[in-house]
Symmetry: C2
Subunit: 413 residues, 2 copies
């Protein structure tokens, strides 16, 4: 066998086994190969096993010095494109000012919407680039990025073009999503906006291939399940996958809608009740939980442990955004899921690789869609600082990731 | 005026004002100077004000590019010296195995004690060095490090010598503490151990100047208040300051003992009740809270907000240790104190600078003991990544600190 690169000195090669989203007890299926090596050619893994078993030839070799290697992480939920900042909001909220009062003063999400809508495409991409680089450095080799701060359709298109431009200028694999966010409360005609989204925005996004999926925010204060269904149906009719922000604060039918329509994922789920876990487990939909929001806002975390115990497939995302989750690390998102949502280290690795990839519909061989590092799969992997792979979710406050490889190339970040 | 170095381009120079530990409402006293500059000579600040007011001469200049500058942080509570690891414990605990069962199987703190006691001084220092570097990179220019995993007196001395060696080989200012930890349950004669600590270990530590303070762990499962008092009295008689780990799980008189004996700080305090806050507020003792433990173990956080409201002086530490707080960032400790303990950004800056310095008895002019950056005080400061100083406690998962200066020198970390 011939390879471009042989990676040796791997103390532990830890991978998430099996195809498709991992559910329930299967989420603990992590395989650890000790004293391993990994061979890469043309950006793909061509061989991975115990180092002593290698008999091929490699054009180059790297010894990682008795460190653990894990698959590249997938961050399935970010709002990494925004303008302005929310530091004044942060100060007000942490000083005891209520969210409603902040909104009434023109702060909160309105300030981000105003700043983002006023920002040219190139500037939006430039502002987002260091955030993407931070996520990449933290181990996320595939990153979903949503629009959604635009509101007026033209601004959504600008955001999606900024995301496309980002994708062309970073080593990370960027997966764009059209998010139809909470409509402005000043909107006098919600029905007209829904119609426009269905008849014009979604078809245009599909035609220009600006997004892989449409995500709708279903909440008492946002879209109703009925309004969402119209937009998600339009997405489906235009060949786009669907996702939902739902059950964050209330239950207004979003979860059931998502499962019925075959959503790739239902995201947030802090307000889910146990009776809903079995329904998720019986569906093809991934439950994406977002522990950064729980930490930042001090709200109860989603019941990740109970969802897995009920048989659901759980993924974890950063939800990177300036208002409710300024979390710039995919590794820390997994570490928080262990502390706040009750996942084990194994479940966190599965949640951050194969399940997150499935939440993005990224199951092709060209990406590290299954959390595995085997011949024929993409050579997206991380060299950790430590020799034990569990350090990925154990260490707090320092980056456990030493080197990031995408398509077999070490990324300078 | 002549300076060695002029630092310009400071968007905000944010400092904690005033002398002594900041209490209650005074903990919000942060002064922000915009468009600032800072001049350094011989490792000390010689001038700091608005940039336009500078009229002196500097041998060198650095433009930090419109970024915020804050004082170097003080981490007043770490156990950064240990051997072995606790990853197997971490996996067991997060998989539902109880702490008692882990201990019974020879894990938990026993595994750290065994590994540490068996580790030579040089190896202990070498293992600790990257941890200290991580804390320094996160903004901690002064770092307390405790012994306490030795148990047999000789091993405690080895730990303290390793800490001294660490201090000589890092740019961070290291403050060593002799910790008398939970005695082994196998100890057949607690009284004899206390006698040995009082009559031999403490005098020797004082004589060799191996520690600045003695810290005793008072808890139902550890030392009683009576046992602690004997050891703290010996510390006092040998000219050492005193501190206590107390009120972490139960109230067995540790807090009241610490206040009565004039402890520099009482640390943990998760089990404190409101009636105790006023007593802290009326004392000269700093209340040091440790949010990393709350996050890592999922235990209720200390009531930082209520303590400050009652008038107490609160400091924040990482409690870096392998079992209950693998938190390698002083900045993240402050960020967690905002989320978990209810501090404001201003209070967190005060808690992580002036109050933490007072918790270490470091109030001299040679250290950044007061959170100020003014003529005559040490030039320990941080250049943040962002232009708003509040980013120090807002950002999660990425290091908000771009450059660390100790004694006016930029540290390569």
């Amino acid at each position: 066998m011939k390879a471009d690169l042989l990676v040796t000195g791997i103390s532990q090669l830890a991978t998430a086994q099996g195809a498709g989203p991992k559910r329930g007890a299967a989420m603990r299926a992590v395989r650890v190969t000790e004293h391993a090596a990994l061979a890469v050619a043309d950006g793909m893994v061509v061989w991975a096993d115990r180092e002593e078993a290698w008999t091929g030839e490699a054009a180059a070799a790297i010894d990682v010095g008795n460190r653990a290697v894990v698959p590249g992480l997938v961050d399935p939920h970010t709002h990494a494109v925004w303008a302005g900042d929310r530091l004044a909001d942060f100060e007000a909220r942490t000083s005891g000012v209520g969210y409603e009062a902040i909104l009434a003063a023109g702060g909160g999400i309105w300030s981000t919407i105003r700043a983002t809508a006023a920002c040219p495409e190139d500037d939006l991409a430039a502002l987002a680039r260091p955030r993407i680089e931070a996520l990449l450095r933290s181990g996320a080799t595939t990153i979903e990025v949503k629009s959604g701060y635009g509101f007026v359709p033209g601004a959504e298109l600008t955001m999606l073009r900024a995301i496309r431009s980002l994708g062309a200028s970073t080593a990370a694999r960027i997966v764009p999503t059209l998010l139809i966010h909470v409509p402005p409360r000043v909107a006098s005609d919600r029905a007209a906006y829904v119609s426009h989204v269905c008849a014009s925005l979604i078809p245009r996004v599909a035609q220009e291939e600006l997004a892989a999926a449409v995500d709708v925010f279903v909440e008492k204060e946002a879209w109703s399940a009925e309004e969402a269904e119209a937009m998600l149906a339009a997405a489906h009719n235009n060949g786009l996958a669907i996702k939902l922000h739902t059950e964050q604060f209330q239950r207004v039918g979003g979860l059931e809608l998502g499962l019925r329509l075959g959503a790739l994922s239902v995201d947030h789920l802090e307000a889910c009740v146990p009776e809903q876990f079995a329904a998720i487990a019986q569906s093809s939909t991934v439950a994406t939980i977002l522990p950064g929001v729980s930490l930042h806002l001090g709200l109860p975390p989603a019941a990740g442990r109970a969802m897995i115990d009920a048989g659901a497939a759980v993924a974890v995302g950063t939800d990177l955004n300036p208002g409710s989750s300024p979390l710039f690390s995919a590794a820390l998102a997994l570490a928080l899921a262990v502390r706040l949502n009750g996942l084990t280290a194994q479940e966190a690795l599965v949640a951050g690789t194969v399940n997150a990839a499935c939440a993005l519909g990224r199951t092709g061989r060209e990406v590290t869609s299954r959390g595995r590092l085997e011949a024929g799969l993409a050579a997206d992997f991380l060299v950790l600082e430590g020799s034990d792979w569990r350090d990925l979710v154990y260490t707090l406050g320092a980056n456990p990731v030493r080197d990031v490889f995408v398509r077999g190339q070490r990324i300078a970040v």
